[in-house]
């Protein structure tokens, strides 16, 4: 039991230190606007996302997402 706890704690610590790099594709009219509005309201959220603005999520080509992962993204967040 005790040992398991230790193991778990270690992995948790590893995760805490890890800062993922995430690429966001945000729709100009929706998610990008919501993100702006979050700023105006001074809501706080983790600083891991870098945003590419598109006019609509329909613009997002499968190639963009695959390329993002290839370029080292740990995650891709598309927001409509």
């Amino acid at each position: 039991m005790a040992q398991q706890n230790v193991v778990k704690k270690e992995s948790e610590m590893a995760q805490e230190g890890f800062e993922p790099r995430i690429l966001g594709f945000f729709c100009h009219w929706c998610c990008y606007a919501a993100a702006d509005s979050a700023g105006v309201s001074r809501y706080q959220y983790p600083p891991n996302v870098r945003v590419i603005r598109v006019m609509c999520t329909g613009r997002i080509d499968a190639r963009f997402i695959l390329e993002a992962f290839r370029c080292g993204a740990d995650g891709v967040f598309t927001g409509g």
Binding site: D36, V40, G58, A62
Partner: protein, 900 residues
């Protein structure tokens, strides 16, 4: 800053007094204008000449206490009154425990509680103990349908908002037990009944038809007692009670009336009539919104556009008399074509950015990026002098690409684009990195990481800037005329308004004469002679020099796009082509043809419209009549069609009263499910009850039966109150047949305007764009949009006319340059883009022997769904090319990412 430093707390009235703010504040994040204002009543500087802290701390110097009130005199051609609605007196609310028991809230307060940006961030808690309540009751008709408080009318919106608030609450707290106490469930708006059904079925919200007379507090809980339709008494305890407060006339209605010299109705709302719902009693003074009568957002927005149309009619001669034209220098094409010379301006935005992000570090970092020849920081990039200095620096350094690292392109890109244009650069050559709204503001506690992110965003913006290309600013000329499809009340009203504003109209009517459903009406809902209203309208249409009427005609095909449509009209086998800039859909609807109820078996079983037609011919058929039975919701609300037809309840009551007037000794029975006599029509309902019309509720599973016998007709129905079946021998049965959509399918295909599941045309946005269709240049009004009264149709027709004249008045349609472009050499003509485009902005055309796609730039919105689905990658998007996005992705990686 001003809010932060102000020492004076004030109650936050925007949040219904549930929160505290400071004298300088902004009501909510999306407020327009999005600037802070000072509550003069609370401000220490204004009232006591002390403090002045905010003015000193405002780094932009935007607070000036030396300003004095000024009186302005304006010469105007029309006045539009839109003061909105007032609040029901607290005295009325106190009867239901408001003010005495902390857990009795108004629905306005509850709305703030459910709002994620409200005082509790969307957590629903009881004010008394900050605990999540388990059981909530909504009480309807507080300050509405209540003569004891002087408000005999129905507020029209509370049933739906209660259902909405209850649904939202259930989404937040799925374990909530919510009951709504209705007298009648009045969710008659387009799509509202569906939402109400969902609330009951999906969220398990209890609908109880009873009026709760009072609220008591027992052991910290709220006790309600009520009586249901079957005569049974009930009582229960609740943790929270929400009062669905009605809409009053504005508090200063009388002052407004005095100042503008208009008449009010007996409830202190602006007096209008059914055939001209937006005109006050004084010429040139118009009204829109809740001041005209309680109403929901779509109707308010519609009326507002309608009032704008009437104002434009009045001002038609003055149009374009005070316009100013801006001129720009020619573009320096040679400079634009040179290798990218990028300038990066990093904005402090006072302390907004610089307080978190290390602006100087970001600036210096920008200097290391390829292509950057100038990198500077600015205090407020958007201020007048900063813009001037940026313009000078662009010129001095012969920059041909600019990156502004500041706030959001959504709000500020046009400003910087304008700066570029003013010095002869294409506006598409500027790119913004949003290091304020999406960085400094949201990572205030992590300055290092925010700076890191700002650098990344600048790197990505620079990468994109390198690939920016000048884009055309295309404009398309507009044919200054309209095609109005449908010659009923809505179509004629729209045509008249457009014509009065000075544009040509072609009005197409399928049948042989104008008039539509109004032809069959005997009286309007406010008792006017319907045929007179119609005759006046037809006379005006026929006499108008700008209107050309095509009766017996149909629209065969429509091609083109906003500003440049070409349509084929067929009349008596002949086809005529017309060119026009816009389209108004006013194709109407029709009375539902009843199924069952022995309809068609006897001349004494008729619909409401047939009754009116009978009455128009004379009252002889009433001679031997004793009992008249009306049955509501025939065809509507799940009987056959799903929607509520909105006006049958009012029509039935209106006709019942007319029958009573003609023959007072008649017994009239109205079988209904919910009486939906909304707004001031509640007066008619009350009057009918006073005159002895009997109203008996039925449910869909126990519908009344109409039995045709050898001698006469019998109606058998269950009466909830006595718990038994009633049998009524009827001299006349009147079926309140609903409103069915017209045959819209074909036109829907021709214009590519989508339909609702019920077959009405679908508006672009239910609340904000109620008279526009998703296809640019196409507008919508009348029964084609959904069931509504004459009054509402006329207002909506005016609104459609207002929207339709916008492109006509502009004369040109400007196209945002972010449109798609097809490389026809790569295109294989597969047609995938054409079928996916939500705006019909791509067509296939014949080029040589093969079909090729082509973008209609005037219709394209730049969504890019065509580009991402093109098999041969033949489509590129202006400002958002594959190359630019790929460059951003590569720049996303700090080490850079080579192309594979």
């Amino acid at each position: 800053m001003c809010t932060m430093y102000c020492p004076r707390p004030v109650v936050d009235t925007y949040n219904e007094r549930l929160d505290i703010t400071r004298a300088p504040h902004i009501d909510y994040a999306q407020a327009i204008p999005s600037s802070y204002y000072i509550d003069a009543k609370a401000c220490l500087r204004v009232n006591y000449e002390t403090c002045n802290l905010c003015a000193q701390t405002c780094t932009a110097g935007a607070i000036d206490f030396s300003q004095q009130p000024k009186e302005l005199e304006l010469k105007v051609g029309a006045v539009v009154l839109t003061p909105g609605f007032g609040r029901v007196d607290d005295e009325v609310l106190e009867r239901f425990g408001y003010g005495r028991f902390p857990d009795v809230l108004t629905a306005f307060e509850f709305e703030r509680l459910t709002c994620a940006s409200g005082p509790t961030e969307g957590h629903i808690v009881r004010p008394s103990d900050n605990q999540v309540p388990k059981k909530i009751a909504f009480l309807q008709c507080i300050g509405s349908r209540d003569e004891t408080c002087g408000n005999g009318y129905c507020s029209s919106v509370c049933c739906m908002y209660a259902v909405k608030e209850a649904s939202v609450a259930k989404e937040h707290e799925p374990d909530l037990d919510i009951s709504i106490f209705f007298m009648d469930v009045r969710t008659m708006g387009k799509g509202f009944d569906e939402a109400r059904k969902r609330a009951q079925e999906k969220y398990g919200i209890n609908v109880i038809r009873a009026r709760v007379p009072r609220v008591d507090q027992v052991d910290g809980k709220l006790a309600l007692t009520w009586t249901t339709g079957d005569g049974e008494h009930h009582s229960d305890l609740f943790d929270m009670v929400v009062l669905s407060v009605g809409l009053e006339s504005p508090e200063d209605a009388e002052t407004i009336a005095r100042v503008t010299d208009i008449e009010l109705n007996h409830y202190n709302f602006c007096r209008t009539s059914v055939d001209s719902p937006l005109l006050s009693s004084r010429g040139g003074v118009l009204v829109a919104g809740a001041f005209q009568g309680p109403k929901d957002i779509p109707e308010s927005v519609t009326q507002a556009s309608g009032a704008a149309a009437i104002a434009s009619e009045l001002l038609a001669d003055a149009r374009n008399s005070q316009t100013v034209t801006v001129t720009y220098p020619d573009e320096d094409k040679a400079l634009e074509e040179e290798e990218p010379r990028i300038g990066v301006f990093v904005c402090h935005c006072g302390v907004n950015i610089a307080g978190v992000v290390d602006v100087k570090a970001v600036r210096d970092y920008a200097g290391t990026l390829p292509g950057v020849v100038l990198y500077e920081d600015t205090l407020y990039s958007c201020s007048q002098d900063a813009l001037k200095s940026i313009a000078e620096k662009i010129k001095e350094n012969r920059l041909n690409r600019v990156v502004i690292s500041a706030c959001s392109p959504r709000t500020h890109e046009p400003l910087f684009q304008e700066t570029l244009r003013s010095i002869g650069l294409n506006p598409a050559l500027v790119e913004m990195a949003n290091i304020r709204d999406q960085c400094a503001w949201v990572h205030a506690q992590e300055p290092d990481k925010a700076t890191e992110k700002a650098k990344d965003l600048v790197r990505m913006a620079v990468a994109k800037a390198r690939l920016l290309t000048p884009l055309d600013q295309p404009t398309v000329d507009v044919t200054p005329s309209a095609l109005v499809i449908g010659g009923g009340a809505a179509g004629m009203s729209a045509a008249l308004s457009i014509a009065d504003q000075g544009y040509k109209v072609v009005l197409v009517e399928r049948s042989k004469e104008l008039g539509g459903n109004l032809k069959r009406l005997k009286w309007t809902l406010d008792g006017q002679d319907a045929s007179k209203v119609l005759k006046d309208m037809i006379k005006k249409v026929k006499a108008h020099k700008n209107i050309q009427v095509f009766t017996g005609s149909q629209v065969e095909s429509v091609s083109g796009y906003v500003g440049n449509f070409t349509s084929a009209l067929s009349r008596q086998g002949k086809t005529e082509m017309i060119n026009h800039g816009v389209i108004v859909l006013a194709t109407g609807g029709r009375e539902y043809k009843p199924k069952g109820y022995a309809y068609g078996d006897s001349t004494r079983i008729v619909t409401q419209l047939e009754l009116e037609e009978k009455l128009a011919r004379g009252r002889g058929f009433l001679r031997n009549a004793r009992n008249v039975v009306m049955i509501q919701c025939v065809g509507s609300r799940g009987d056959d069609m799903q929607h509520c037809s909105r006006l049958c309840c009012i029509q039935a009551v209106k006709n019942a009263l007319k029958l009573k007037e003609l023959k007072p000794e008649l017994n009239i029975y109205i079988f209904y499910r919910d009486m939906r006599t909304y707004g001031f029509y509640e007066d008619l309902y009350r009057e009918a009850r006073k005159q002895g019309v009997k109203f008996i509720r039925y449910t869909l599973d126990r519908k009344p039966e109409v039995i045709k016998q050898s001698r006469g007709i019998k109606v058998r129905a269950f009466d909830e109150l006595i718990g038994e079946d009633l049998e009524i021998p009827a001299s006349l049965v009147v079926l309140s047949a609903g409103i069915a959509p017209g045959e819209n399918e074909e036109l829907s295909k021709i214009i590519k305007a989508p339909l609702t599941s019920e077959g009405f045309f679908l508006e672009a946005h239910a609340k904000l764009r109620p008279v526009e269709v998703a296809v640019d240049g196409v507008y919508l009004c009348g029964l084609a949009h959904g069931p509504k009264s004459l009054e509402e149709s006329v207002a909506q027709a005016k609104a459609a006319a207002a929207k339709a004249t916008i492109p006509l008045a502009k004369g040109k349609v400007a196209v945002a340059p972010i449109v798609s472009k097809v490389d026809q050499d790569k295109c294989i003509g597969c047609g995938i883009c054409e079928s996916l485009c939500p705006f019909n902005a791509i067509v296939l055309e014949k080029v040589g022997k093969r079909k090729k796609a082509k973008t209609i730039t005037a219709s394209c919105k730049g969504c890019g769904v065509c580009a991402s689905h093109c098999p041969t990658i033949a489509i590129s998007m202006g400002g958002f090319t594959d190359e630019a996005i790929m460059a951003q992705i590569h720049a996303f990686s700090p080490e850079g990412c080579e192309e594979a």
